[in-house]
Each structure stands twice: as C-alpha cells, then as structure tokens.
Symmetry: none
Subunit: 220 residues, 2 copies
DNA sequence: TAAAATGTGTAATAAATTGTGTGAATTGTA
DNA sequence: TACAATTCACACAATTTATTACACATTTTA
C-alpha cells in the first residue's frame, strides 16, 4: 500500500508534488483520472489521498464520496475552485480538508505530516538506524526494539532533539531531574552510560553520544 | 466531558460560536485564557478544541503543544495571523487545522462535524480479534462476547482510540475519573488488571495493554 | 422488599523495575 | 607523566506496578 495517492490530471503538478513527498520518505502513487484513482485505491489502498476535484470526465466529489463510503482514509481536496459552496460540498462529503490552489507546498506537507502523526502515530525521529517514536515512547535500532527506562528515554529525546548541539551537564540534569532534585550530578553520567550501552554499536567507542570534555554531551 | 472546548478571549465571539455549536447539539465550554483552558482540559477533558492563538498572556501555541504531548485530541487553531510561518508553527505543533479569522461559520461547522464523524462516530473499532462497538458498548473477542463494566469499557475505549500512543496514568485517570475525583490514582491500575483479565489471551503476559514504566500504558 | 449478584474503590502486600552512591579503573588533556 | 574528568560494576535503596482480599454501593433478580 502506498502512503499517498495523488489524484491530479496536471501531470507536471503531480510530478512536482510527488517529488516533494518522496523527499519526505513517503511512498507515492499517481492517478490521472477518476477511474484510475478508484481502481488504484481499491486494488492497493492508500494511507492518505490528495485529491484534485476538477478532473476530466467524472468529477472528484464522486471519488471522495465513494471512498468515504467504505473507509476513513484521510482525503485532502485540492482545488482551484474557491467558492464557499464547493468547500462545503467537499467537507460534507467527508474530505478532511479543502485546500485552495495554488497552495503553498510547505503548508500542504505540514498538513500531511500532521495527519500521519496523529492518525498513524508516525511521529518518528529517525537517525540512521535509530528510530525514536515520541508519542509511543519506543526506540528501534535496526528494527530491533530497545527497551528504555523512563529516564533513559527522556535523556535520549533531549539529546536527539538537540542533535549537533553540545548540552551542558547542568542543563541536561536540570531538564530531566529538575533543578530542585537532590540527586547527585554524577547520576547523569551513569544514565548516559546505560543509554550508550543500548544505542551504541560499540559502547566503548560512542559514535552517537559524544562526550564534550569539561562541558557535557553532544548527539551527532 | 464537553464535546468542544472554545479557547477565545473575545467573549462576544466565543458566545456566538458557542450558540452555533449548541444549536448543532454539541456540549460546549469556554475558556478565556490559556490557564483556564489547560485547567478545564485537564479537569474535564474535551473531544475537540477550537483554539484562538492570540490570547492575553501565554500564547496559544503552548496549549497546543501541551495537549499534543499527552493525547490526540483534535485541535482547530483559529487566528487573525495569516503568516505562513504562523500556520506552519501551528500545524507542526500538531494542530489539525489552522483557520484564518475572520472565518466562515458554516465552513468551521462543517470541519468540526467532519472531525466528529471520522473520529468519534465510527461505531465499531476492530483490532485483530477484538471488536469494540461504541454505540452498543459491547466488546467481542473471537466472536465471543466479553462483558464489560462501565469503567472497563471507558478505559478500553480510551486506550484503543489512542492506540500506539503511550498515555500517562494522570491523563487516563483525569479523563475517566475526572481530576476532581477523590479516588486514589491506584484505582486505575486495579481496573487495568481487570481489563487485562478479560481481553488478554494470557493476562500475565499482556500483548495488548502494555505497561510503560514510569509513565503509563500503551495499547498496541 | 429481601436476597443475590455485580460494580467500584481501598488498603495491604508482593513483585518487579528503576534510581543512586560508591570507589576503583580508565581515559583524555596539558 | 600527572591530574582531572569520566566510566564502570556493583549493591542496595527507592519507587512503581501487580495482585489480592475485602468493604461498601449499586443494580438485578426472586
């Protein structure tokens, strides 16, 4: 099943959008008309549909209605028609959104990404072979699940969300333990060690969590 | 739990929207600032939030982020700021939509109605051998009916509607018991145990309701 | 209406997991 | 090399979660 099905008769535009989406690691398929769209959808399914309403022949509303009759697959309507009535029709037929053409590609990408996150819990931060899912609080390395304790997970998240930046030990400690904690600062290094044990290929020679002498740590 | 929480400092506007929504049979509550919004949400929950970004004091983005950290509750941002960057920020923080002010009330209502339909009025949720029927409040496992108590059913529904996401114990407790409940939080774990007894093949080794140590639970 | 069954919350205890401090060993830096 | 910073292993403390039994409320049944 493709992540995204683009239904658009303007081939150039379809290609352009497709490229952007693939750059974000979605798998994409394209249909140029209503018949192909339905047949593709019914044969392979899709996790999200970007649907141009103005198609040659059969119009896009029919597709929307048809798909909505059998599933809740998210549908983003994209159209040059800006009438209120068109929008209402689209929304009432069950489209998740109605976006006017010409649209801003960044906005569209943000909307798509948001739907994937909320709908499929795909809020993942990927770094090479490491995949961190914030909402699920899971970590995978080479498709192997790593079991993390609460503190380890928070530590990893803090590092990875500030990747490339050196974080001071104080900052890290205060962020995770709270500055009113009466734990020893030493504790942080111990947790760093455990984290390395889990995520580094060779914990003796860390490649991801680097020590910055006299300061703190940096995630690469 | 109210259907819709309106976060809006313009009282007139809030009242107007509230009236329209009540006419459509939603239950509505209103918060005039960020603090009230969060406290209302945390105490009673909400099924959808209409969030004005420009609030006195703390801005609305913080609310959006905060809510998204613990659940997938739909958020519609409404704002007079029309910059691309504002929109992107809102969407990236997890808002379901960013609607420019002044908005057309019919469009807003259509969007809200669509979200409710897709998100909540799906009668039956299927997950492998488990079938949960919301309207009838029944649960079937391998075509065998499981008798659920009220609390068990709500708990299961909450988990399954946020499947894949780790829910904190506080959030679960507040959502089901209400944060002004004077029950012990401990109660939650007891109900989890009973629920597992019913839906897990081997309650000693839960495959569906997983414990996330130090945080809460996650439905797979 | 009484009795029985069921639902819910609590408290005590057991089990499991996670957090912490220590000090010796190791490593990096000047 | 000397010194400081860091790492590491271990043991144990603290915390969190699971289990159980029981009390009481509520609903259903006889």
């Amino acid at each position: 099943m493709a992540d995204i099905l683009i239904v658009e008769d303007n081939k150039e535009l379809a290609k352009l959008l497709c490229d952007f989406l693939r750059a974000e690691n979605y798998t994409v398929s394209i249909a140029e008309n209503a018949e192909k769209a339905l047949s593709l959808y019914q044969r392979y399914g899709a996790r999200l549909i970007v649907l141009d309403i103005m198609l040659p022949g059969k119009d896009g509303y029919a597709i929307c209605e048809r798909i909505r009759a059998e599933s809740n697959t998210p549908i983003l309507i994209v159209s040059a028609r800006t009438d209120k009535d068109d929008k209402l029709l689209g929304l009432r037929l069950g489209a998740d959104d109605y976006i006017e053409k010409p649209y801003d590609i960044d906005i569209l990408l943000a909307k798509i990404s948001g739907i994937f996150k909320r709908r499929y819990s795909l809020d993942e931060i990927t770094d090479g072979s490491l995949r961190v899912n914030k909402a699920a609080r899971t970590v995978y390395k080479d498709d192997m699940k790593l079991e993390m304790t609460a503190k380890e997970f928070e530590l990893l998240l803090l590092l990875i969300e500030n990747r490339g930046r050196t974080l001071s030990k104080e900052y890290m400690f205060n962020t995770i333990w709270g500055s009113d904690s009466d734990s020893e600062p030493q504790t942080l290094t111990v947790h760093i060690k455990w984290l390395r044990q889990k995520i580094e290929d060779d914990p003796k020679k860390p490649q991801r969590i680097l020590t910055v002498w006299g300061v703190g740590y940096r995630y690469l």
